[in-house]
Symmetry: C2
Subunit: 336 residues, 2 copies
């Protein structure tokens, strides 16, 4: 009955399956290197709505409903929707959930929400509480910019370490049966704060949380990094990825140079697309995990991956009050 | 293994126990009718901090750490902290979690967060994923007013239907063993929106969600309302409470007149304290459940209660964009 492994990790008994995923992205993401892996690329990042927030909400609604269709299920087959986003009071998720006839659990983990929701979805199935669960999240460049930074109309300059919030949403449907990739282990992270207070350098702020969670996960289940075909952090970008690799090697002796990617680093061609240190936002790891990673798992090109979405837990209020930027990361091992 | 009952409810197998609670409130709550049930009443609602947000965060930190002490446990005995609050990006919870060495799952359910976190904590224990879990939430009158309404310095008039955000935090420690009140059933709610857009009438906005969850819970487990010594909604206040009673009777035939209270209605003496339609905020049901309800359960004065925290899922952005106010409610049955 007790599924705890080591200090901070749990293993699943029933191997909750990811039976379908759906990813929707904006036009810019649709011009990036991973464009062929997304289910739909919007022509217009307003998606026919009159505000960016409504557009983002329509994207998560689309990801959820289309992922359910892809699983050949109906809305009322789904026992729970675990979802969240970056907007104040989860505006995007809550207004999508309002139009869905599914019990709703709202989550906030900043950009760690994809693995936070996936972890809870898998635990809910493994605990015997659900037959089908959807895990989902979203972000939108324009709704995030104006909430966290500046009105777009200012045309602010961007720091070299700044990241570009991904416009996109991803959803995963989990179930009990079938020959699909399954969740084997989950490591819920602790909040880590190394005193970073540069709001233009999220990668540096989140890296210690990624390092803590990845190292604890590997120690808990006594695996070397090489067990995984790929370790996939959320949205550390180029800067945070470098720090994470360096710290894992120097502090823990884990060498990730052969099997480590970061969703924020992969989703854009930074030079060509002007995305500086890389992509970010809840939608970043959501669409890369639901698109690129899941499709490679289904095709057998990947067999074991460790998904580690990472979140920077700041608000504009906490920044204005001089506080630092805490980070968090949750790891979910998916295997076939 | 399958713990589902009816359409939307689950029962626990192992009866996760609520082994301790802790409640901290501000000075105004400490002058209300329930003052004798709170663990500590602050003399100063800034709690020695220089901002209301930092004060709120210090209160949830206090509730979590003191509840752990009351359970004779240490921080590293706790496998998960499920917590959330009203502030943008959960500022209060995240900055408390930063100073706690506990894996953290951030939740947003507006004022439904006490039963949202309690539900997930109980499921996590019942699913075999944890030995001890803390569920917690907080709110603060002054941080909420300036985020959602107006700067306090404006001295705005308050509508008769307006509620008063409770300054307070409550935490519950759940475990596997002992002769304590236990969680028997959980009904996670759906988001309900009846088109209310008056931000000064949260009770009306949340009532349909409370009605939906309570009715579904009773139908799922085939119980009459009289099974419970008390049904306790979160923070509907006087207005929302009346609507909830009326709708449950007229639409479902459930008569709650003998065993129903609302935390927002109970926590203040509205006439004397000028709190209009009642208390609100995540902290409202948190401190009433952790204080008044839990202590009555422990003393044997209550044996079966249904806790139903209720949340209004609005943001200032969604209001400015002309959207209505969706509500949600989660029900947790606690028995001895």
């Amino acid at each position: 009955m007790n599924k705890r492994v080591g200090k901070q990790t749990i293993r699943t008994d029933s191997k909750p399956r990811i039976i379908s995923t759906y990813s929707v992205v904006g036009p810019k993401e649709g011009e990036g290197p991973l464009k062929d892996y997304f289910d739909i690329i919007l022509q217009d990042d307003l998606n026919g709505k009159d505000t960016f927030e409504k557009a983002e909400s329509s994207m998560i609604y689309m990801a959820v409903t289309e992922s359910i269709k892809k699983a050949n299920l109906k809305e009322n087959d789904i026992n729970y929707l675990f979802a969240g986003d970056l907007l104040n009071q989860l505006t995007s998720s809550c207004f999508a959930a309002k139009d869905l006839d599914i019990p709703f659990v709202g989550l906030f983990g900043a950009c760690s929400t994809m693995t936070e929701s996936l972890a809870l979805a898998a635990m809910t199935i493994d605990g015997g509480f659900a037959n089908y669960v959807v895990a989902a999240t979203s972000s939108h460049f324009s709704s995030a910019e104006r909430q966290f930074r500046f009105p777009l109309e200012y045309g602010s300059q961007r720091a070299p370490t700044a990241q570009w919030t991904v416009t996109g949403s991803g959803a995963m449907v989990l179930g009990r049966e079938g020959n699909y990739p399954y969740v084997s282990h989950i490591t819920i992270g602790k909040v880590k704060d190394y005193g970073v207070n540069d709001v233009n350098n999220m990668g540096e702020a989140m890296a210690p949380a990624a390092v803590s969670t990845i190292a604890q996960h590997l120690m808990d289940i006594a695996r070397e990094p090489s067990y995984y075909d790929l370790i996939v952090t959320g949205d550390l970008g180029k800067v945070g990825k470098e720090i994470t690799m360096k710290l894992l090697l120097e502090e823990y002796g884990y060498d990730l140079k052969n099997n480590y990617i970061d969703c924020g680093d992969e989703i854009f061609d930074h030079e060509r697309q002007g995305t500086n240190a890389g992509g970010s936002g809840c939608g970043c790891s959501a669409v890369v995990d639901c698109g690129f990673i899941y499709k490679n798992l289904i095709q057998g090109k990947l067999k074991r991956v460790l998904l580690v979405s990472t979140g920077a837990l700041l608000s504009s209020t906490s920044c204005f009050q001089g506080l630092t930027i805490p980070g968090i990361a949750h790891a979910v091992a998916v295997e076939t």
